[in-house]
């Protein structure tokens, strides 16, 4: 029985203007199914009353404890009956996309077909954690929708106190800044911890994110509990042809204003060409016959700025790997936090390297599971117990790259100073 769409004067205003309108899309769906007719009815009510009307609940698929976001309407009449019954159940399936969010049109159409058959036809590409969100299924249809998606090779993502769906940047697929195989690292870590995604039993959510370079296009440093960010430890590579091309096109003023003076650690300098050899550990590239650019690599903090301004002319070094930061999170409860360095550098090229990353991820998850309080993110846990204790528990060596500066207060027991010095020396000798 096809329902008629009630009037939606407020939402209609969002059909105006040049940006693609989700309201027009919802109305297209409402021509096909009654669920979207009623969804529009409830949404228009929200716009009128400035109130949300969904509550959660328990809906899932067989074998999993997470991945479906249940939504039941709270917009009811005096008899307690839903005012928009066809949208009284409007659940979302969170589904993990192919890492890097690559799709063929054939695949997208198949996903659409499943959702037209079992759901509302409304899909979000993608949610803030990176899931494809299939929005709008009745409880009775959730299992069938999942089964078909699962047959296509797709799996539910995370929700609640579990490992969440992950994201990686486009990375190696199309970017010269990429310092490791982002999607492979993502799939290694995530797909080895699916039990902790599908069956929530952690103190709270745990997010991994993978960015190929310090530009951090998937915002991993703040938006994940464990961020894996590409970097390099040898010299910035240069391409003279592209450097000359850039300089010819942009000139001295832009070079000084946009490249030289914007270096945060003053590692980059403009010099006159005089035929001398560059000092060791210095990357040098000719800009024209008289001028050259030098980067003193030990001073460089790998911020990416000059590489961004002069693409191709300056490139990440050849000895690449990742920096790992732990503790990024949103505002609840202690305030927003960035991840902080726990591994300044590790290689991530061979199968063995990936296994090491995976083992570290597992150890971090296990320590979190054992030691965090209920609803405490790992960043909060570290704030509570202290970074040094966290590092010691994970058997990660302390390193000056983990702090902006050493402590500024004397409130510390140093009875074991000599023992700690011996440890530091042993690390140095071992390195």
């Amino acid at each position: 029985m096809k329902k008629t769409l009630q009037e939606t004067p407020l939402l209609d205003e969002l059909e105006q203007g040049p940006w693609p309108s989700f309201v027009t899309g919802l109305k297209r769906l409402a021509q096909e199914n009654d669920m979207m007719v009623d969804l529009l009815g409830q949404l228009e009510t929200s716009y009128r009353t400035r109130t949300g009307y969904w509550k959660g609940g328990t809906v899932g698929v067989y074998g999993y404890g997470a991945g479906v976001i249940p939504r039941f309407t709270e917009l009811k009449d005096e008899q307690g009956k839903p005012m928009f019954p066809e949208a009284a159940e409007f659940h979302t399936l969170r589904v993990q996309p192919p890492a890097g969010m690559h799709y063929t049109t054939d695949l997208l159409r198949r996903l659409c077909d499943v959702w037209v058959k079992h759901g509302s036809g409304l899909i979000a590409f993608h949610g803030q954690s990176g899931d494809i969100m299939f929005q709008g299924a009745k409880t009775a249809n959730v299992q069938a929708a999942f089964d078909e998606l699962n047959e296509l090779g797709f799996d539910l993502g995370g929700a609640g106190a579990d490992v969440r769906t992950s994201m990686s940047c486009v990375g190696a697929a199309r970017c010269e800044m990429s310092c490791y195989d982002e999607q492979r690292a993502l799939r290694t870590v995530i797909n080895s911890n699916l039990d902790d995604m599908h069956r929530p039993s952690l103190p709270y959510k745990f997010k991994f994110k993978f960015s190929g370079c310090p530009n951090d296009c998937v915002n991993s440093i703040q938006r994940s509990d464990m961020a894996v960010i590409g970097t390099w430890r040898d010299a910035v590579r240069t391409d003279e042809a592209l450097a000359r091309e850039w300089f010819a096109a942009h000139g001295m003023e832009e070079l000084i204003d946009n490249v030289i003076t914007r270096c945060p650690s003053k590692a980059i300098r403009l010099k006159k060409a005089n035929g001398s050899e560059p000092a060791p550990q210095v990357s040098r590239v000719m800009l024209d016959d008289d001028h050259l650019l030098e980067i003193d690599n030990p001073d460089c903090v790998r911020c990416m700025h000059c590489l961004n301004v002069m693409p191709g002319a300056l490139l990440p070094g050849a000895d690449r790997g990742v920096t790992i930061l732990v503790g990024g999170k949103g505002v609840l409860k202690i305030g927003v936090s960035m991840g902080t360095v726990v591994v300044p550098f590790m290689k991530l090229e061979t199968e063995e390297d990936l296994t090491k990353l995976n083992e570290l991820a597992r150890k971090v998850l296990e320590f979190f599971a054992e030691n965090a309080l209920d609803h405490e993110r790992i960043g909060e846990m570290i704030e509570r117990i202290g970074l040094a204790n966290f590092l010691e528990a994970l058997d990660l060596p302390v390193d000056p790259s983990m702090v902006l500066h050493p402590r500024t207060n004397p409130y510390v027991r140093t009875d074991d100073w000599d023992e700690q010095v011996a440890k530091a020396k042993a690390r140095q000798d071992g390195a």
């Binding site: 899309g25 996309p97 890097g100 409304l122 970017c175 391409d239 911020c303």
Partner: protein
């Protein structure tokens, strides 16, 4: 009676992207050496092998009806080799290995109503949350706020005229699922939760709710003979942290849930370290369907940044150079006592120097 047979899930995890990746990207995986930006909405990449690929980026509404997805697929099939990818900000990217395909592709997207842009120094698509459409705790909508703002910022999406890229996020509660951004638009509640004492005992795990409060303003109480919770309203900072674990502590209010604007967040390590966004304006009305008061503040800030920022300065770099006094003066936004942080760590946000710009 026999139990119905349940199909056991296959725990695939995150799918392998290789079967869905454009062949030129797959062939040159990890071997790219150069990129440039031929025009707004278009990126050019070159691989070591000499292979080239052009990417055309377009904005979407994110919450897409399947017809819109199919329309994008038709365009991809006809003009772009049948491959697409999505960015972290819900833009869609079409890749073509032939320069000649770029123009017709842009034409087809524009014709179909998808704005081409979002690259380099543009205002990219707004990272957004679920809002009234699907969230169980929203103070406002998400898709509607984004649609209304992107209409206003359309020219900044399709052009690339900002000093550097601009990332905007919206969040329909203070949890801030939209994340850190150059400009963030976030609900800010201004009244303590209204408690339905009849429901608390049955719905809420009271010790867990007490533990959620960042300022220890919630305590167990007996109200009308029923076990419930009470809030010390003088301590309460109206963050709404108690509402998700205890829906009878209603924090959302049509009038008193306001909207705040924050600026200067960035996740990239380029130049200064990653930064959090900072509160600059609050008390804006939650005014659907187009939130004009919010749009006005955002446009004012972006207009000032566009005029005053130097090349490559993100909003945070720009403010770092001009100082907060100039930011408030130039944008005309009032500086109030509420801008001075008093949460933990606040001392590090105070000016412990005589470095003052006059």
């Amino acid at each position: 009676m026999a139990q119905p047979q349940h199909r056991l899930p296959v725990e695939h995890g995150a799918p392998d992207p290789m079967p869905f990746m454009h062949p030129v990207m797959k062939k040159n995986y990890g071997k790219w050496v150069y990129h440039n930006h031929p025009q707004p909405g278009v990126l050019y990449h070159r691989a070591q092998s000499g292979d080239e690929i052009w990417t055309v980026k377009a904005g979407t509404q994110r919450q897409m009806d399947h017809q819109t997805v199919r329309k994008l697929c038709d365009i991809a099939d006809r003009y772009a080799d049948g491959f697409v990818r999505f960015t972290a900000r819900s833009n869609i990217e079409f890749m073509v290995a032939d320069r000649g395909k770029v123009k017709p592709l842009i034409g087809a997207l524009t014709e179909a109503g998808f704005p081409v842009g979002g690259t380099a120094n543009s205002v990219s698509m707004i990272a957004h949350t679920q809002g009234w459409l699907h969230c169980d705790i929203p103070g406002t909508d998400a898709s509607g706020v984004v649609k209304a703002l992107m209409d206003e910022l359309y020219e900044e999406f399709v052009g690339c005229q900002m000093p550097n890229r601009v990332k905007i996020s919206t969040s329909c509660c203070e949890i801030n699922c939209g994340g850190q951004a150059d400009v963030a638009i976030i609900v800010q509640h201004t009244k303590p939760p209204k408690i339905n004492h009849d429901l608390v005992a049955n719905v809420c795990e009271r010790p867990a709710v007490v533990a959620r409060c960042p300022v220890a303003a919630i305590r167990p109480a007996l109200v009308n003979g029923k076990p419930s919770l009470e809030v010390d309203e003088k301590k309460c900072v109206c963050c709404g942290a108690c509402y998700p674990p205890c829906p009878p502590m209603q924090i959302n209010d049509p009038e008193y849930s306001k909207i705040a604007v924050w600026v200067g967040g960035k996740n990239s390590n380029a130049r200064i370290r990653p930064t959090f966004h900072k509160l600059v304006a609050a008390g804006l009305p939650n005014n659907p369907p187009r939130w004009p008061e919010v749009a006005e503040v955002v446009k004012k800030i972006l207009g000032t940044y566009k005029k005053d920022g130097r090349p490559w300065e993100r909003v945070s770099d720009w403010i770092e150079r001009i100082g907060w006094a100039a930011f408030f003066r130039k944008t005309g936004l009032p500086f109030t006592r509420h801008h001075i942080d008093d949460w933990r760590g606040a001392r590090s946000t105070l000016n412990a120097s005589t470095h003052i710009r006059f």
